[in-house]
Symmetry: C2
Subunit: 357 residues, 2 copies
DNA sequence: CAGGTTTCCGGAAGCGTTTCCGGAAGCGGG
DNA sequence: CCCGCTTCCGGAAACGCTTCCGGAAACCTG
């Protein structure tokens, strides 16, 4: 099968118009127009005939009025390098699909350079709205999008979203509290934090929650136990190694993402230690991989798909010119206890809280 | 901040036209047209003035000629429930973005019911082409898409793609051989296979490769050691448990996906056994999670992003009416040795091949 | 300053499509 | 056979936009 394949079957000379179709079908131009637009005041016979020709010539409308809506939602990530993203995509896609809209996924790899070009594309395809996900660009793009009057919703805002821009997030702070409380109850006193980039709102909220949960038990979160990562596994490994090198290493680690938690696992493994016997680990997100890590990871569940879905619904409301009742939504996080947390070594399982899901 | 937000700022009465803008700006209609289309034969002052009005009124083209290309690529998955997908998306998005096109991601959850509706959407938005990923729908949709003359490329074909439809895959068979050879060289004799759904081409190829690799060493792959999963973790767990229950359990497992390999990990963990001491495990895909599993997973790398990119390039070629030189492409798989494979218990590390990455 | 070139813009014509309106059939009931 | 009604379709006009072309003004160049 070495035959090559041609893309457009009929590249005769010029795009066909309804005039051509009309002439060939022996009907008038308006009639063809009616068929194309699915009006019902055309006889079955005529419709059949015209439709056949339409299909045969691969007719595509090429001037006429543009539809008021493009039925496209733009979903913009900073990067597409994590299973994280697919959860959001799934939520958005489901809602968009139900509304007959397509989901355009893009990544503004890093810098505004490509963002400029991306904006042009956006404008050309007349997207109905933009969902911006945890992006540093939020600050740069926000105003531009605002001005171009494209509906905008921010998912998991990186900072305070501009006024008038609805956002959907999760209760990061509460999640941090829950994680800390869980570990405290197990008897841990030195609970380290491996956070995300400090300039992100969600990172700060998780850390503050952690601190609050610890302090509620009359403990303090020492500075040496707070490390900054970038949500990726590598940073979890790196920071966990630093923590284990401490003269008095922690007995538990709360990592601000599941991926970093896996990095912590690896640091533990490389030391010949074990989770949770030597170190308890709590993650954040509850991605698929949390269930299937060895051991299954205790983590703070963040309903990513639901967040995407909620954001998409809000965006569709905006695009339709409906009012958005709740410009700021935070969905609840919940602690999911699995097998990566246990009482610290040397402490009898007093009021044990570990165990299966 | 309880203020509601309105989507469309100016819903005065009627959509603004360039005629309105022209009148208000005190210029002619063609001039506004030129500004809108970014022509360069407009003075800076005039352009500025018109652009301001355009923005202010939120002008959107509403008739004129449609662009010949929509600059949209449709990327269709069966389901969006795996980190798998995001790799493909990334590859496609990169190429599409570079070509100024958007990537529309959708999931035809299961059945043709929604596929029908989806096709309608597709047609309405006049997508430039469709990338179909490992879908059972390939058979159903293929012909329909064919007739509607939408360029189509199949990624990781589920079966033999229809003639005339280019496809991009990976050398699944060779990957299976590599995995088996690696395990045989470590001294394994009973190497089980946990495969994907048998009706998928890639599943069959991986199993056949496994068999071939084993037989090349003068061994046979016994039927009891061949299990069928669905590429997801749960099935890996289930099938591995069945294998471990065998009177003479295998000393190594080749799972046809990384996710199933993690399921195998979990089965081993639940038995109180260890990887690789008690069971060597090889996966397939080399997703991110393979690197960060405990222990890091030896796996057959499948260049998913590159596959997506190659498919997208092919699709763009088709959409442009260029000829596609290679209707069928298979990208190379490579074995990545990490720490989940070792010689079987009771066998001295003869010609050891385990070790770090 | 004459002549040529470039820059910038408007009038007119044209694009493919839709909308409006009216007329020709077809049909059943008186 | 006529009447009113519906169904189906065509001519003409309108739609919003683009392209073509020519002319006025500004800007050089010697």
């Amino acid at each position: 099968m070495t035959a090559t394949v041609r893309g457009v079957p009929d590249t005769s000379s010029r795009q066909v118009t309804i005039t051509d179709i009309a002439r060939e079908a022996g009907v008038s131009v308006p009639t063809v127009s009616r068929v194309v637009n699915g009006r019902d005041d055309v006889s079955a016979a005529t419709r059949e005939k015209v439709e056949a020709l339409l299909r045969h010539h691969g007719y595509r409308v090429q001037r006429g009025p543009r539809p008021s809506r493009a039925f496209l939602l733009d979903l913009v990530f900073d990067d597409l390098d994590s299973p994280w993203a697919v959860e959001i995509i799934r939520g958005v896609e489901e809602v968009a699909h139900a509304a007959g809209a397509g989901t355009v996924v893009s990544a503004v790899h890093g810098r505004s350079a490509s963002a400029e070009a991306w904006l042009q594309n956006l404008h050309r395809r007349a997207s109905d709205g933009v969902l911006l996900v945890t992006s540093d660009l939020q600050q740069d793009l926000g105003p531009v999008l605002r001005e171009s009057s494209v509906p905008l919703v921010v998912v998991d805002p990186a900072g305070l979203p501009p006024v008038g821009v609805p956002s959907v997030g999760a209760t990061n702070w509460a999640g941090g509290v829950a994680a800390a409380e869980h570990l405290v109850r197990l008897g841990h006193r030195r609970i380290a934090h491996v956070g995300g980039p400090a300039h992100l709102l969600c990172s700060r909220a998780r850390l503050d929650g952690h601190r609050a949960g610890v302090e509620a038990a009359g403990l303090v979160l020492q500075d040496e136990l707070v490390r900054e990562g970038d949500f990726r596994q590598g940073s979890g490994l790196r920071e966990a190694q630093a923590l284990l090198d401490l003269p008095e290493p922690p007995t538990a680690v709360f990592a601000a993402s599941d991926q970093m938690a896996l990095g912590v696992y690896e640091a533990v493994r490389r030391r010949g230690l074990r989770v949770p016997e030597d170190l308890s680990v709590v993650g954040f997100d509850d991605l698929d991989l949390a269930t299937w890590a060895s051991p299954p990871l205790t983590t703070v569940r963040q309903p990513l798909a639901e967040m995407g879905a909620a954001a998409a619904r809000t965006l569709l409301d905006l695009a339709d010119g409906r009012e958005v009742p709740h410009p700021r939504v935070e969905l609840a996080t919940t602690l999911v206890v699995r097998s990566s947390t246990a009482p610290p070594r040397g402490l009898a399982a007093s009021d044990t809280e570990s165990g299966g899901k």
